[in-house]
Symmetry: C2
Subunit: 356 residues, 2 copies
């Protein structure tokens, strides 16, 4: 008779299940949550009642009483929303989603474009609506990681802000990936290998440049600063950098680009300059994105284990949330100390195609 609009017959509550099973509320709760302190007989009884009634625990009530949300947020800062178009995010989301499914956790997607939206998200955190946060592609100056640390909310970054990252993270081996790209080029007889880097304020750009340098050094080639041009991960930046390189070192015979998108820009300039790929100049990218496969010629690129990274992020986050304790019973939050396992660097793989 309630005016509000109680839905058809009303969904069964814990209490009703308890009544039907002839046990107390607490016992049903224990069964639902997989507590071991229930006799086998009672457990079966309760499970039967649950099945009969089609009982599904109300999450809101659970969240209120249990101080948890069964939800984690995947946060994508403004600067990165365009990257969304890349298979990268698709892979991360799939990995995360798969990793969370086992824990019956939901994924909240939060795009933060404006400072108003950042505030809104901070309120959301304050309102206890998430148990943890996954942060994608943080820049060095992003205030979010520190905010999360202050609020003591379990967090995992995708990538890191610096070599001394304090927040748990999952990253790919950018240095190693760049290195393998260069070993490949040098192994195929290229002598004058240039590189187009990412923006210097991003750690990932540093790593890839570092890998380039190491490989050049290891091969005994001279380190030539004129072979390094700065890009910004955009196509236009790739074009600009390529023009610079061609002006400075017209004799170059290979270019390693720190992203596929920049490689696409570089290719245009190379073609405009009449260089054939790969005959005159070999080209290698990074990310193994869709454009790598569709470029003409198809682009050799460094692939990251993206979906696996997403899975790993989910795993690391769950470990923090459950306080390192095994899967089992989700107790009240008990923040785990930062462990060594909370820094994960996954290997990359070179995908060879026609451009090199």
């Amino acid at each position: 008779m309630a005016p509000g609009g109680r839905r058809g017959g009303g969904r069964p509550t814990l209490e009703e299940v308890a009544a039907r099973a002839g046990v107390g509320r607490g016992t049903v709760s224990r069964v639902i949550n997989g507590s071991p302190r229930v006799s086998e007989r009672t457990r079966t009884l309760v499970q039967q009642a649950v099945a009969d009634l089609g009982y599904v625990p109300d999450r809101a009530a659970r969240a209120l009483a249990g101080h948890r949300a069964d939800t984690v947020a995947l946060v994508v800062p403004e600067a990165e929303t365009r990257l969304f178009a890349e298979p990268y995010f698709s892979g991360i989301i799939r990995g995360v989603s798969a990793g969370l499914a086992d824990h019956d956790m939901q994924l909240l997607l939060t795009l933060i474009r404006t400072s108003k939206e950042r505030r809104r998200f901070a309120d959301y955190l304050a309102a206890h609506r998430v148990d943890g946060v996954l942060l994608v592609s943080v820049h060095g100056d992003d205030p979010l990681p520190d905010l999360l640390e202050r609020m003591a909310i379990p967090t995992v970054l995708n990538g890191r802000r610096s070599a001394g990252e304090t927040v748990p993270f999952v990253d790919s081996d950018n240095t190693g990936g760049a290195q393998s790209a260069l070993e490949h080029l040098i192994g195929r007889g290229r002598r004058q290998v240039a590189t187009i880097t990412g923006p210097p304020d991003m750690y990932v750009a540093h790593c890839r440049l570092d890998g380039y340098r190491r490989a050049v050094r290891a091969a005994g080639h001279p380190e030539d600063a004129a072979l390094v041009a700065q890009g910004d991960f955009t196509e236009e930046g790739g074009r600009r950098a390529m023009r610079e390189l061609l002006a400075r070192r017209p004799e170059l015979d290979a270019v390693f680009c720190a992203s596929d998108v920049m490689a696409a820009g570089a290719r245009q300039e190379l073609r405009a300059a009449g260089r054939r790929i790969p005959d005159d100049v070999a080209l290698v990218g990074f990310d193994d994105s869709a454009i790598a496969r569709h470029m003409d010629p198809a682009l050799t690129s460094v692939r990251q284990p993206i979906e696996e990274m997403g899975r790993a992020m989910a795993r690391l986050l769950m470990e923090q949330i459950t306080g390192g304790a095994g899967s089992g019973v989700p107790g009240p939050r008990a923040p785990a100390p930062p462990s060594a396992a909370a820094r994960l660097v996954l290997p990359t793989e070179l995908v060879r195609r026609a451009s090199s």
Copy 2:
């Protein structure tokens, strides 16, 4: 002294705000929810207390007491997770996210791959954790739309299952887009325009084929069934269909592909057959995805107003949830009757590039 781990000092509650403002709980609640039945003086008083204490309402408590979740789910069925890589999803998500931000609604992202995950999602719906659902790229045989209708959960589809779609939806003008692509080709003197279609069990494929046929008819060209080949929205499908077409009608001078991905496949076959693009054969795609810009030559394609579609989906859903009542106070759910406005078809735009 609570063992659980009450966070630092404890966040302020409604009651504390009430005490500080010297009013009752009900009054604070009214102010928070923007009820008009509060005197100006009291409202200011309460707002001051809220600001002083940094009060943020607890969402879980709100959800429990108020029978709402302030959350909507964006559901992506298995078959589509690969499309995730496309700018399409990026755009939809951005539009939806922007559209929801105004309503202080959160976005839950749900990937459904297995039947186990579908069940899990159904439970989630039963557990009252979402106020509405956005469904992306539904197939004709997807059981989800009907399930949602039965549960009386507000829903908006992206695309529709058939011409007589009963669930509110937002779609783009696929027929018109295909038509404009063909008018463009025919206008440039192409006489033998072939098409590669999507899978016949998808309504969107029908629409695009329909647009092709209408334009051919309107131009007074003969309708030649041999110029129609069936694809499946994949690159390999595009290749196969292109081979068929070349075998059946070697004299064709243009191909309209129902997706960019299939156009990429078609291009490979055309090239393998020694046809130059656009000199011998003009090529047009659909979606205006990343590969369209990076293809060689760059692909003419039909662009959909993706982000706007996302926004519209959010708007339609919110209208259902708030029962058509203006923004204002969020009352308990009152499902709105299916209105004419709940069917939205947005216009497309032809983006001309070098391939035609």
